[in-house]
Amino acid sequence: MNQERTSIGPWLFWSLSTITCFGFGYINANIYNAETMGANGYLAVPLAALCSIPGLIAIYLLMKRFPNHNIIQQSIVILGGFLGRLVSIIYLLFLLVFFIVYSTDVAILIHNYLLESTPFYIICAADLLIAAYLGSRGIETVSRIASFVILPLATVVFLLFILILPEVRVDRLLPIFNFQFNFEGVGGTSILNIFYPMGLWAFITPYCKNIQQKIPRMTMLAFSVLISFFLLDNIGTIGIYGHTYISQLPYPSIETFRTVEISYIFIEQAGLFGVIVLLASTIISSGFSLYAISLGMSQVLGLWDYKRFVWILTPLIFITNIHLAHPGFIKSLSHLFAKHGWMVIWGYPILLSILAFIFKKKGKTTHGS
């Protein structure tokens, strides 16, 4: 059984889309933005959102053509059995490596900031076991947990932003629109990485067919929340540290929250709240990624179901995590994915959409094919 007989509502869809990007962008957003656009790094956020829309439209169009298929099943139908499977395997391998780099980055962060003496493999194991358990419970569990934590999480983060605002110096964010109007000047491709996790939606389109009409609205709502969050994050980080100093910080958002000082209150290190919020969102994000990759693997290979793949992939990811555990190496890999990942994450659905249109391919209407 490759697919669950369930569906998710608009609120669950919104929560899942928002929280997966939230956890991922929290680590990566402002590094590449400041690197490519300097003091105007915050402008990269709406630009990246704008550039992500064609990919999302492609997924939506594919969903309309193939209401009962996800991207893997769509590619098998559009490209044919052999080529479709081959390309899907490459696509899934890319997502797997991308997920490994991301989960290692999160584990390094926990090791650095929270659990210094704990062996790295224990952190990876704990992180992955929770993500695997979540992933193995299916899309409904992942999305329900996302909907459960999103409001308290967003509240804590926005409160932290309010607390950092007094430290922001407007001069560090100026001049506005001070960039060259060429490809690199407007941010280049690496700024797109903050919305990559939204591409995972392509795996769960069959579960969203009941809310097809509401998807554009829900996606826009997720975008507006994410844009305001990342904008505040970028404005706060650049406004406090300046765009040149950010390049020396592995996790600028965490360092920004660590600057918060609440006088006379015994909990003076608000940065810890930032780390805890991040962990909650990254675990859900990891659970969803693991679920999506496992579902794709089971569909491509036609073996077992996604649950078994979750537990097969977990030890493989765990071993790779341990061997990649060098912050500098992980950051250079992240950079590589940030720069070129769009080709796969957004390029593949766009390509499939174009091919489906050219070859007039359509999916069957029965469920669970």
């Binding site: 704990t118 540290y241 360092e255």
Partner: protein, 370 residues
């Protein structure tokens, strides 16, 4: 059932916090740190550790110890290289997560603080909000002084900086701010000055040590610091005392300012235009004069504005002479002239820039007398 049992066993891994678990009683909580220049280019690090038993409030009202803390020191080729030596002197584990203040000796600061303070930004448990203080006396001596309040010296300094009423002749600089500023091309760092009055057994926190890059360039007096505070808007409660012919010495409290700075680039020279809109409460006239007319107040305001104008200009010129841009004018210049901005050339432009100051002062209250 078997699956659930496996899952339950796997949860053991989630108890990973046990590796980092450490009883509070087995920790040596470092409250303050002192950095001194030692012989042969070495650095001396001193740690102030509280004696918890001495800090407990005794219900019978027994006297509190005047020195409820211990001091341990070690020398090393770098600041963090001293930690093994400090570890050897303490039987419990050193814990840096509670550092409140770091005292730095001026001799070390003159040689450059990039190296000696690097661990303060790298070590994940060192709180970035901890305050930095600069002292002419050896830092280890300052950590050991007894205060009249019988409080731990580091806590006294934190209480001082948390009070808005004290933001007059000194302003705080936290570890994260200092580390950013000494590495910034667009602004320089400062550290507040601290001295100890041996007779009255108290700290004197007044004035700033200003930096050019990572080196201490000079010292600003309390008066100069006050003017810098008015120029940057950091001042929350400045006191001004001005001699006048008509009313004797006029004193103001709660003086605050809303500054605006403009930079103009005329050919090869810069012009800094400071517009300071200041206000304060009239609190004293040494001739005891009351019933000030609007003309009197206008006269006082003009006199005060002229005084501030002169003093602010002197403070900025002093900063220029020291080549220290603690006003972050470089950031402003970069923001307004991004195409002309050249980090290599900035300090030269800065030191040769012209200054124009215009001050408007308003007396907002005159206390309980007319």
């Amino acid at each position: 059932m078997v699956h659930k049992l496996w899952l339950f066993l796997a949860l053991i891994f989630c108890l990973s916090g046990c590796w980092d678990q450490e009883e509070v009683s087995k920790r040596a909580l470092v409250l303050a740190m002192g950095l001194d220049q030692a012989a042969e280019g070495k650095i001396k690090v001193s740690l102030q550790i509280p004696i918890v038993e001495e800090l407990l409030i005794v219900p019978s009202g027994a006297a509190v110890s005047a020195k409820p803390f211990a001091l341990v020191s070690a020398e090393g080729s770098s600041a963090f290289a001293t930690v093994p030596g400090l570890n050897a002197k303490t039987q419990t584990s050193l814990f840096f997560g509670q550092i409140q203040t770091v005292f730095i000796n001026t001799e070390l600061a003159r040689k450059g603080l990039t190296g000696p303070t690097d661990f303060l930004r790298r070590h994940p448990t060192v709180p970035p909000q901890a305050f930095l203080l600069l002292t002419e006396r050896p830092a280890h001596e300052m950590l050991e002084v007894r205060l009249i309040s019988k409080r731990i010296p580091s806590y006294s300094t934190v209480t001082f900086f948390h009070s808005n009423n004290k933001k007059d002749q000194v302003f705080p600089q936290r570890i994260w701010e200092f580390n950013r500023n000494i590495r910034s091309q667009t602004q320089d760092a400062f550290i507040p000055l601290i001295e100890y009055d041996t007779k009255e057994e108290t700290f004197i926190i007044k004035g700033l040590g200003v930096f050019d890059g990572d080196r201490l360039a000079g010292i600003l007096s309390g008066e100069e610091t006050r003017m810098v505070g008015l120029l940057t808007g950091k001042t929350r409660n400045a006191y001004l005392s001005i001699p006048t012919e008509r009313f004797g010495r006029i004193t103001f409290r709660k003086v605050t300012a809303a500054p605006r700075t403009k930079i103009e680039h005329n050919g090869h020279q810069l012009l800094f235009r400071f517009h300071v809109n200041a206000q304060g409460f009239l609190v004293e006239s040494t001739r005891g004069i009351t019933r000030f007319t609007p003309e009197d107040l206008e006269w006082i305001q003009t006199k005060t504005a002229l005084y501030l104008n002169r003093e602010i200009k002197k403070a900025v010129q002093r900063l220029q002479a020291l080549n220290s841009d603690i006003l972050a004018l470089g950031e402003k210049y970069r923001a307004h002239y991004p195409r002309k901005w050249d980090p290599a050339n900035w300090k030269l432009l800065y030191s040769e820039a012209k200054i124009e100051v215009s001050v408007k002062f308003t007396v907002t209250r005159s206390g309980t007398m007319l």
